[in-house]
């Protein structure tokens, strides 16, 4: 099971500048929600509305997963009646929504964030504590505004 990699390959990859963390918003309780506040470090890397839209959609997914209503009661009572053995073969609603979230984050990364040199990490990989945004070095610009590199790299979109 061992594989051999060449270290030279890693030298051409863009280097990580910093990581920006969007923290949890606890103002409405312990349910999973991320702060909609735009981090200042990303001011010239991405449009404010795009990131806010991503966070808002993520929050709505989590709200859907944690909603306490008719369907969650039904799932809970049915599972209890079977001594929770049914969870060995059935996927819970939360797990279904997590799969949707994972697909959503991948799609957002491919369409919006990767072309701008950013990378979103699924919150579940950080224990649902933070939404981690990795900021990569903008090597094409050399200090000038990133919009010029975006237009020359348009084929990547």
């Amino acid at each position: 099971k061992a594989e051999f990699h060449n270290l030279q390959e890693l030298r051409h990859s863009p280097s990580l500048v910093t990581k920006v963390f969007i923290q949890r918003d606890y103002s409405e309780g312990t349910m999973c929600r991320f702060q909609a506040k735009f981090p200042s470090e990303l001011d010239n890397r991405i449009e404010r509305t795009l990131l806010e839209e991503t966070v808002k959609t993520l929050n709505s997914y989590y709200a859907e997963a944690e909603k306490i209503g008719g369907q969650s009661y039904l799932e809970g009572c049915l599972a209890c009646a079977t001594a929770y053995i049914i969870f060995l073969c059935m996927e819970t609603r939360y797990e279904k929504v997590l799969r949707k979230i994972s697909g959503f984050i991948q799609e957002q990364n491919e369409k919006i964030y990767a072309p701008r040199g950013l990378l979103l990490t699924d919150p579940i990989e950080r224990g649902m504590r933070v939404l981690e945004i990795s900021v990569f070095e903008d090597r094409g610009s050399g200090g000038s505004s990133p919009s010029s590199t975006m237009s020359s790299g348009s084929s990547a979109r």
């Binding site: 594989e3 990581k19 312990t30 001594a83 933070v130």
Partner: protein
């Protein structure tokens, strides 16, 4: 100088910090000390075995055959709840990676960042403390278990009888375990008494002794043993169930109750309570089943670097496969901009 990297795949549970033991390749997660848990298993299965062997034949024939059937169902439910509580992840929060650690890398001469963060939850100020072991600001209601050396979300208490912490993910199983165990104990206790009463009514001790010479004293002493075990278990388990029912109706954890977070001068200020007993019960018992954030069975890439100048191999554990694939997308987008 040539360098070569050997990659090996390991499961994430093998690299988890904390003092937990894992079984079945990461599917089962428990605390390190399991002695009291084995005692719990022994007491429950032992008492039930005695009940099924010595009481049930008599009761099924002379009273109703449904009695042992119901006892078996109740026993299976108790065992299922116990094993679910003991073997599942209570809601452990993974430790922060170095970049995320809020208080790490403080430059010399500067004051360290504050260890307490105030957040407002439903118009109530709650203090979030910084955990030095896990390097995170603990979410509200989370607490660090010193026995398991983990921060657990909605930490209730560490239960040695169950061999695990009780937290957000397994609290309802723990409650159902104590509730069903109370019912089972009351059931066995009641029918033991009924059995003894019926036997003495159906002809007196001496006649029964003549019918089954040698075995009745043994059966009587086993019945008495069961009654004693049930009697002492009853007080503790029923009391515990009552206590947790009280906590659930107020949407509090044992940890908060012990610390007096929402009692005394803070009474009535619990920001997590819906101020309605039914709603509180529904949230705790019928709420969503939270998934584990630990991903115990996920695969990690362990890279061991072997260079000719340094014969000691250096091991680093790198990121999840999925993030690696996205990293390559970023690489390819930058390659387009390179002239």
């Amino acid at each position: 100088m040539s360098a070569v990297m050997i990659t090996r795949k390991v499961r994430k549970w093998e690299k988890l910090p904390g003092k937990n033991t894992f079984c079945c390749d990461g599917r089962v997660m428990m605390a390190r000390q399991k002695g009291v848990f084995y005692l719990t298993l022994f007491l429950i299965t032992g008492t039930c075995a005695l009940f099924f062997a010595f009481e049930c034949p008599y009761l099924a024939v002379h009273l109703c055959p449904a009695i042992p059937v119901f006892a078996v169902l109740l026993f299976l439910f108790v065992m299922a709840m116990l094993l679910r509580t003991s073997f599942s992840d209570p809601g452990v929060l993974p430790r922060a990676l170095p970049e995320e650690a809020a208080n790490g890398n403080v430059p010399a001469g500067q004051r360290p960042p504050p260890r307490i963060r105030n957040v407002q939850i439903n118009n109530q100020i709650v203090k979030l403390k910084y955990c030095y072991t896990c390097k995170i600001f603990r979410p509200p209601r989370a607490s660090h278990c010193s026995i398991c050396d983990n921060c657990v979300d909605r930490f209730d208490h560490h239960c040695p009888w169950v061999g695990n912490c009780v937290g957000k993910r397994n609290y309802r199983y723990f409650y159902l375990f104590t509730l069903s165990l109370s019912l089972l104990t009351i059931y066995i206790f009641t029918f033991d008494i009924v059995h003894v009463v019926m036997r003495s009514m159906n002809g007196g001790f001496l006649n029964t002794l003549k019918e089954t010479p040698g075995t009745y004293p043994l059966k009587l002493s086993l019945t008495v043993l069961e009654v004693l075990v049930c009697f002492f278990t009853l007080w503790s388990v029923v009391g515990l169930t009552g206590f947790h029912t009280y906590l659930i109706s107020l949407n509090q954890t044992t940890n908060e109750d012990i610390k007096g977070s929402w009692s005394g001068k803070n009474r009535g200020q619990n920001p997590y309570s819906h101020k309605n007993i039914i709603k509180n019960c529904c949230e705790v018992l019928c709420g969503p089943t939270y998934p584990s954030v630990l991903d115990r069975r996920g695969l990690l890439q362990e890279d061991t670097l072997i260079s000719s100048s340094n014969p000691v191999p250096q091991t680093t554990v790198s990121a999840h496969k999925h993030t690696h694939a996205l990293f390559l997308i970023v690489v390819s987008s930058f390659r387009h901009t390179d002239s």
